[in-house]
């Protein structure tokens, strides 16, 4: 009996990512969720600009490649085209979602657009070769912050889950990580829930996945996973930031 194999919704071709890049893990989790929910035939995915640009080749469902940062707007169009039928997700990195596409992200959340967003936060621009990202940590050395991110000169990281949780719009926001088996399993649950919410018409669901970029962090894959524990998670605490249906609503007034 097969107890583990490649999910159907993940096309059986080699992924182009660097060794130890956790994009592949998240791709698999998304594909597993699609398989388990039986929605591949009506799912339309929107790929970003960034390392995951070629995600359109990897997912077996219909796919669209969006301009840099515009995936939530593209997904909005697709969803509005046939809201009862299409299941629409975007897969975006931190440069795409939290820098150039901040407006599209915030407003899709504010509209409670009934879409699913998978947000990869690895604190760096991977595809262009390791520049400072909106989510790079204070002091983090990158190609464009060679002396470490100086918050006086270039400000502080953008904490997407915290920021969006202050909006009334979104249904579900959770931050997960994929740096060990336990965390990957939690990430899987969150991603599946983000799709399930859409099926049930609950609205905007975003899962932020703290991910590793060994190549541009200049670490071995194993050291990169440890760096997530040591540096990333303390700055970006994991957990559910909003779950309206479960009553987790930050900033909501206490009942008198």
């Amino acid at each position: 009996m097969v107890v583990f194999d490649r999910p159907h919704a993940l096309v059986d071709i080699p992924l182009h990512y660097c060794p130890g890049c956790t994009h592949g893990i998240v791709h698999r989790l998304v594909a597993e969720a699609i398989d388990e929910l039986g929605i591949e035939g009506r799912t339309i995915g929107v790929a970003p600009v960034g390392c995951a640009v070629m995600a359109y080749d990897y997912f077996g469902c219909d796919m669209i490649e969006a301009a840099h940062g515009r995936a939530p707007a593209v997904a909005t169009g697709v969803k509005r085209s046939d809201p009862d039928n299409y299941i629409v997700f975007t897969y975006q990195g931190d440069g795409d979602l939290a820098s150039i596409g901040t407006a599209e992200t915030v407003h899709a959340a504010a509209r409670n657009e009934n879409i699913t967003i998978i947000f990869i936060n690895n604190a760096i621009y991977g595809m262009t070769g390791g520049q400072m990202a909106p989510t790079s940590l204070p002091g983090q050395v990158t190609q464009t912050s060679p002396y470490g991110r100086d918050v006086k000169a270039c400000g502080y990281p953008v904490k997407i889950c915290e920021m969006l949780s202050m909006l009334e719009g979104p249904e579900y926001l959770e931050r997960v990580a994929v740096n060990n088996v336990k965390n990957v399993n939690k990430a899987k649950k969150a991603i599946k829930k983000a799709f399930q919410n859409q099926i049930e018409g609950k609205g905007f669901s975003l899962v932020e996945v703290i991910s590793a970029c060994p190549t541009n962090w200049g670490m071995t894959p194993s050291a990169a996973l440890k760096w997530i524990d040591d540096k990333m998670i303390p700055y970006y605490p994991l957990g559910v930031y909003k779950d309206r249906s479960a009553g987790i609503i930050p900033g909501a007034k206490e009942e008198a």
Partner: protein, 68 residues
């Protein structure tokens, strides 16, 4: 008895499966180099595998199949 199969030619030798294995039965091959030029992961003791799926859970390239 569990059976692990690797798509050896697609392995990038990142070693995340090796680290994840609770039984310590995986290693990056010392002798072989695959098509991509990496030392691929391999199982040195199939009989000891408990099919816990830890290796496959951490494999970024989805190249591990587990049967039981």
């Amino acid at each position: 008895m569990a059976k692990l199969t690797f798509k050896t030619d697609e392995c990038k030798g990142c070693g995340l499966c090796v680290e994840a294995c609770p039984k310590g039965i995986l290693q990056l091959s010392k002798d072989t180099i695959n098509k991509k030029g990496h030392h691929p992961a391999e199982c040195v003791d199939q009989d000891a595998c408990i099919a816990c799926k830890s290796c496959a859970t951490m494999c970024p390239d989805c190249i591990i199949k587990i049967e039981k």
